[in-house]
Amino acid sequence: MAEVPTQYGIILAAILFSLGVAGILLRRNIFFVLLFVEVMLNAAGLAFVVAGARWGQADGQVMFIFVLATAAAEVAIGLGLLLRLHHQFKTLNVDEASDLRG
């Protein structure tokens, strides 16, 4: 197992993270935006596991479990709000659902 270099793992995490950022920039639908937030959090968790493997410590995996808990809490509230948004605005488009203006 020693043959996987750390930086390849981190690069994979960075690519997935960047794809998540791109997804959020590209999509205007709240459903997809929430999905890409999950992709980004997952990429951060992957980076922790890779870093933990580099040092041979369990800490990276423990942090991954905490990230998992966070992702679950975020998605529970996020999808709850999404259902409310759909109920109120009849759309999931972030640009259309915009009452707050200065």
Partner: protein
Amino acid sequence: MTSADILSLLPLLVVATTGVVVMLAAAFYRNHRLSLILTLAGLLTAFISLPFVSPLTPRQVTSLVLVDGYALFYMGLIFAAGFIVALLTYGYLEQWDGNPEELYVLLLLATLGAAVLVGSSHFASFFLGLETLSVALYAMIAYNRSLRRGIEAGIKYLVLAGVTAAFLLFGMALVYAETGTLAFSGVIAAAGGGPSLQLMVGLGMLIVGVGFKLGVVPFHMWTPDVYQGAPAPVTGLLASMSKGAMFALLLRYFTPVMALERQGLVWVFTAVAVLSMLGGNILALTQDNVKRILAYSSIAHLGYLLVAFLASGPAGQLAVAFYLVAYFATTLSAFGVVTVLSTPDDEAESLRAYQGLYYRRPWLAIIFTIALLSLAGIPPTAGLVGKIFIAAAGVQASLWLLLIVLVLASVIGVFYYMRIVITMFRRPEADVVQPSMVRLPRAASVVLGALSVILVGLGIYPVPVMRIIERTVARLV
């Protein structure tokens, strides 16, 4: 864990237990007043326990939490803010036809998250405290779920906070991959060995996350919209507790990193401070919405705090601690006035709603005036004393550019604060429809009166608070 460890966590345990108790109480017997009383009792107990915990400190409880004078001081500030917000919420939600009990549970959990944040000494507790605060805030911002703007503000905050949480985590992971430790002290020690590119990228991502929570330029886009869409007492909480807790953490752990690292980070934070001070105040000039004005004002105030942060040293620590006390009291007082004039379905946010307020509610207008004077930094208020401390720290560290911007920004700020004051003292026009005269909630009136007394009191005689700060926060320096 020894019993002394558990004892030193007492303030946190009390708040966590109260949260669960309020939730269980609401599950069996829904009663608004009962929820409020339990919440207040819990926060008061936690606050009172602080001096008793103090002799046990400083104590490192596992590698995650460090309970010391610094943490206890800011915990006290956070508990006080939670207490005031709970009292303001009661009057605000009294006439509302939804369920108010859950808001108190979320308030307690948010308070706990903020308290953990200021006591954290490890990436895990930093992140978990921050997320507990954020997740509770998402639901609090959208608490009035039949209101479109509340839902919109909640979604906006959730998406942006989720993205920045991911940035923060990725930054932490990069730092961990480079240093092999997740504890702040270990990271700072390892960073001293010479910063690598990967470490810098990690730190940069951490700063994005921290900057977003503080709402400083260029991470401020969410602030006005979320402040406007959230219920008024929750906005007060966002402006005080959430930003204050993050700033306390930033001050404690980024100061040593900045000292190690040559210039780069100092320039980043200097740019952020200048942009926040000027941007916040200039953008506020164009607004007609009181909540948005206060949002931009909070951006500027975080900029002022960054000046003290950059000054660092004992003078900087003292200035930040005092300024945060003054800022908490001022912000909660200002949003308190907005709260008592609002109902969940009809927020008093347009400037017109305040026209002639002095002739309808003289005391409220005077309280709001004192809060605005304090925000502007005009004597005899706490805001002025805080600014003098910041300026003194800046002079000591010879941050001349920042000081010039600070003075300039304060002068710009006076204009829009005075605009609100003048509006309140102008006679109402005949054709303006007056907002209905709701009865002022007694609890909120007492709180607002007390906050005004504190603001003026600290402005005239700040010595008692300085003593406490010297004995807790400054003891470490």
